[in-house]
């Protein structure tokens, strides 16, 4: 009897471990498939399907911030591929709603805070004349906070550089500061390593493009 219960216990534990390992793999696998889509697609319907998938995963995995982070990123990409200003705003609102869910799970994740700044930056771009002042302040604040939370986050630095560059161009002032931030972002990109297989990877292209502009 004793042996039986020990044996069954081991079996059950084995099954439990297998299930857990299986679940973790299932999560990473499901995420990775859709992350590729939001990184590469420029079709709004395709992006919407990936975003839907992230929201399904997010609803099932209540402790994970990555699904909502990527859903938010997907919405930003949808907005980027949309021409109508009102629809752009609509997608950006949804990006913010999704990001807020991520923020509730990890309020101090540098990547999430940087994404918040990215959304503000996109909102600014819809109507710079009337939103410039307020949204540039909000975006800069978020990027600053993201860098403080994790000075190694290359995206926070890269986005900050974008913002600085845009403002320098707008006011016709030198882009020295923006280019310095961008160079730093490049360094961090080259050194970026994360144990999280789902860590954000995007943004290097944007930094490399600016390096060309800076030279």
């Amino acid at each position: 009897m004793k042996t039986l219960s020990l044996y069954s216990l081991i079996t059950l534990m084995m099954i439990a471990f297998a299930e857990k390992g299986l679940a973790a793999d299932k999560y990473v696998e499901a995420m990775q498939k859709n992350i590729q889509t939001v990184y590469t697609s420029d079709s709004i319907p395709v992006l919407q399907q990936a975003v839907n998938a992230f929201e399904r995963i997010g609803a099932a995995e209540k402790t994970k911030w990555e699904p909502y982070y990527y859903a938010s990123f997907g919405y930003v990409m949808m907005s980027d591929n949309e021409k109508d200003a009102a629809k752009k705003d609509g997608y950006l609102d949804q990006a913010m709603t999704a990001l807020n869910k991520a923020k509730e799970i990890v309020p101090n994740e540098s990547e999430v805070v940087a994404m918040e700044g990215f959304i503000y930056m996109m909102q600014l771009a819809v109507d710079p004349a009337s939103r410039g002042q307020r949204y540039s302040g909000l975006a800069l604040q978020s990027f600053g906070k993201a860098v403080t939370l994790n000075p190694e986050n290359p995206r926070a630095l890269g986005l900050l550089a974008q913002m600085q560059f845009g403002m320098a161009q707008f006011f016709g002032s030198p882009t020295t500061e923006a280019c310095a931030t961008n160079a730093k972002a490049k360094e961090k990109f080259d050194a970026f390593k994360s144990e999280n297989p789902l860590a954000p990877q995007w943004g290097k292209g944007m930094v490399e493009k600016m390096i060309e502009k800076c030279n």
Binding site: L4, Y7, S8, T11, I15, K26, A30, P45, Q48, Q49, N52, A53, E55, R56, I57, A59, A60, D84, A85, A86, D89, G90, D93, Q94, D127, A129, S130, R131, Q133, R134, S136, G137, L138, L140, Q141, M167, F170, F171, G172, S173
Partner: protein
């Protein structure tokens, strides 16, 4: 032993391979397919998106009781319990449209909303500051919108045949008394509140919410800015003075202070003025604002404004320029406003506040007559807002206004003669927005008031409807009954006067499409119980006055057609007559003009880092009364016109040079005529034209902003 393992293993594999196929369609309540809706088997990874025709198919290995959810933005979630046992399942999801702020119709009759945050407004807070000719004055900018009649010699808002007292200002929902700075007789006054303090403006030319009472023609509702985002110091060096402001921001709050000194003396030394100043206006103004977050979504705001103004001048008599009287004015003004808002539950919120206005105005005429006027107001208000369901939104509140006015004459002949009144108005209001769908809304409301002055209780109904005719267009209608205590100068003489009353009927069509707005509005307004002189005696007042105003107004705004150019055109036609005060019968009052036209342009010159703007305004001639004629109000002034220019140049992100000039063409505008009270030798009354104090007003300013990030500037505040 082995058997147990086998059973376990087999049941495990059985689980793995029992698949159920779920198919279906997603449609809205009209049966139109909804593409790309999210189809979710709740708490699993399984699900899919509907395709372009609203169809979906997916398989799941889950078994037993599950819930299928279908979600799409703008619709309520669709939920359906399923039992999965391997047999195919079909679900046809019919999604109910959500009534939500973003897509629902809004009531636009009579209302011009300006906000930098909301995207559906057709007028922005920043527009007020950057309109040429408005000289950063709120009333000046609103005068370029339809529904207003320009009365150049006052600088105040006159709306749809109403006089300037009929337009009331509210800050964060709280009443403001004496919203204009004092000015010399027949010269334009400026609003006391600078546009940069506000993130949003709602300018209503009629049919406004039951939340706002004691205004016959117009409610100007200003929403003050929230917590500041960044610490900064602003310095302004102006051709007529200077100001310095500092804002300290922290995580949960901010505090800001500003001191402004205005001295127009050096300017008047350079440019000849019509007015014979003894001491031109000098004013010192202090403004303070404190904001703090409370809890998760609550906020407290405190705002205070303290101003002291002095000036004196010589009034020359109409008959003989060499006969003149000294006129001396000293004005103290304080306004304090405390505002609070918080969330009570998921669906209900509360806001409220206290405001206190104090004004003391001392005038001394010919160094003999000293008149001291004090006006005090306290306003306390609480408002609850919430939803009864997703289709019914309710607003209800209670307020008390205590208004105390006194005018004391210290004359040689009759010392200590005072005219005064005190009223306490207790009001409650309720308003419900009933959405039949996202396309159709009905707003019903009522306002109950009890006024101690005339010991009278009243109920005034309000009704508005709005219907979306298509994706971009909508029609709305508004009706309302409004009342307002007779103006200070009459109520002080007769404390028993009834409130004056007006009824508004407004029909509006508006079309907004991708940065182009077209608006047409027509209205009829009926006045009753207006103050009237009994047998022409200004000390015997009754409520027998009546009147009407009707008109049609057009507005067009376009900032798409030409790159970097934003412009709007407005036109108002007004037909109004009233029989009130000393009028012998119904006549058009002197402040009313039949045609008002404005063209406002703003152009951003990227290469020069500058924004330049022109404003052209036209107002047709206004009636005036010539006592040398038998007919009352039979004279007509020439038309008014003005072309103004402004430019802001930003050489550095934190530095702005600003220049503005009114009346570029130097037109000699005549606003009316004053007449002598005595007959001259020829048996006529001598007259004098009321003109602009100077043909042009030129303003130059340098604005510097010091902040940690050097990109912040004062552009939005100019």
């Amino acid at each position: 032993m082995k058997t147990l393992f086998t059973i376990l293993f087999l049941s495990l594999t059985a689980f793995t391979f029992a698949q159920t196929k779920i198919t279906g369609t997603v449609t809205d309540n009209k049966g139109e397919p909804i593409p790309f809706a999210n189809v979710i088997l709740v708490d699993t990874y399984d699900g899919t998106s509907s395709d372009a025709e609203g169809r979906f198919t997916f398989t799941t290995t889950e078994t037993g009781s599950q819930v299928l959810a279908v979600k799409f933005v703008g619709f309520n979630d669709f939920l359906q319990p399923l039992v999965l046992d391997g047999k195919p399942v079909t679900v046809d999801a019919k999604l109910q449209e959500q009534v939500n702020e973003l897509s629902a119709v809004t009531i636009t009759a009579g209302s011009f909303m300006a906000s930098d945050e909301s995207r559906r407004t057709i007028f922005r807070a920043v527009d007020i500051a950057s309109t040429a000719g408005a000289t950063a004055d709120i009333a000046g900018a609103l005068n370029t919108l339809p529904g207003t009649q320009k009365v150049g010699e006052t600088g105040r808002l006159f709306v749809r045949g109403g006089d300037s007292n009929e337009a009331r200002t509210f800050i964060d929902g709280m009443v403001v008394l004496d919203a204009y700075s004092p000015s010399a007789p027949n010269t334009p006054s400026r609003g006391r509140f600078l546009p940069f303090m506000f993130k949003g403006t709602s300018f209503s030319t009629g049919g406004y919410s039951s939340e706002y009472g004691q205004a016959l023609s117009s409610a100007l509702v200003l929403d003050s800015r929230d917590k500041a985002e960044a610490t900064r110091t602003d310095i302004g060096i102006l051709s007529v003075g200077g100001d310095i402001a500092h804002t300290q921001a922290w995580n949960r709050g901010s505090v800001a202070g500003k001191i402004q000194y205005t001295n127009i003396r050096p300017y008047f030394g350079l440019i000849n003025q019509e007015i014979d100043w003894d001491v031109p206006p000098v004013s010192l103004e202090g403004v303070g604002a404190f904001r703090h977050d409370i809890g998760k979504q609550g906020m407290v705001k405190v705002y205070g404004n303290f101003t002291h103004t002095d000036y004196s001048l010589y009034n020359h008599t109409i008959d003989d320029y060499n006969v003149k009287y000294h006129y001396d004015l000293s004005n103290d003004y304080r306004y304090i406003n405390g505002f609070y808002k918080d969330v009570l539950s998921d669906t209900w919120s509360i806001r409220g506040g206290v405001s206190y206005t104090y004004q003391r105005n001392e005038t001394n005429v010919a160094d003999i007559n000293d008149i001291v006027e004090t006006d005090k107001g306290i306003h306390v208000k609480t408002v609850f807002e919430g939803s009864l369901s997703d289709k019914i939104e309710v607003k209800t509140g209670l307020e008390v206004i205590n208004h105390d006015y006194a005018q004391a004459f210290d004359e040689v002949s009759d010392p200590d003669f005072t005219l005064a009144f005190n009223e306490v108005i207790t009001a409650s209001f309720v308003e419900a927005d009933l959405y039949a769908s996202n396309r159709f809304v009905t707003r019903v409301g009522a306002r109950a008031e009890y006024n101690t002055l005339m010991d009278q209780a009243s109920i005034d109904p309000r009704l508005s409807l709005a219907y979306k005719t298509g994706e971009h267009g909508q029609v709305s209608f508004a009706y309302g009954k409004f009342r307002q205590t007779a103006n200070n100068q009459y109520a002080k003489i007769n404390n028993d006067l009834d409130p004056e009353k007006a009824e508004h009927f407004i029909l509006n069509y508006q079309r907004v499409e991708d940065n182009r707005t077209f608006r047409i509005e027509t209205y009829y307004k009926r006045y009753s119980d207006l103050v009237k002189y009994t047998d022409g005696d200004p000390l015997e007042l009754n409520n027998d006055g009546t009147g009407y105003a009707k008109g049609i107004e057009l507005f067009w705004r376009d900032n798409r057609s030409v790159r970097n150019l934003d412009y709007w055109v407005s036109y108002s036609f007004l037909d109004t007559e009233r029989d009130y005060l000393d009028f012998p019968s119904a006549h058009t009052p002197a402040f009313a003009s039949a045609h008002n036209f404005s063209l406002v342009t703003k152009y951003f010159v990227e290469k020069l880092k500058s924004q330049a703007g022109f404003t052209y305004s036209y107002t047709s001639g206004r009636p005036y009364n010539n006592p040398n004629e038998d007919k009352f109000n039979n004279g007509k002034t020439p038309y008014y016109s003005d072309l103004s220019f402004n430019v802001a140049y930003l050489p550095k992100p934190y530095l702005i040079f600003y220049f503005s000039c009114t009346n570029l063409l130097g037109r000699d505008n005549v606003f009316g005529y004053e007449y002598s009270r005595q007959l001259n030798d020829a048996g006529q009354y001598n007259s004098r034209a009321i003109r602009q104090p100077a043909p042009r007003f030129v303003f130059l300013g340098i604005f510097i902003t010091l902040s940690k990030n050097k990109s912040i500037n004062q552009l939005p505040t100019l």
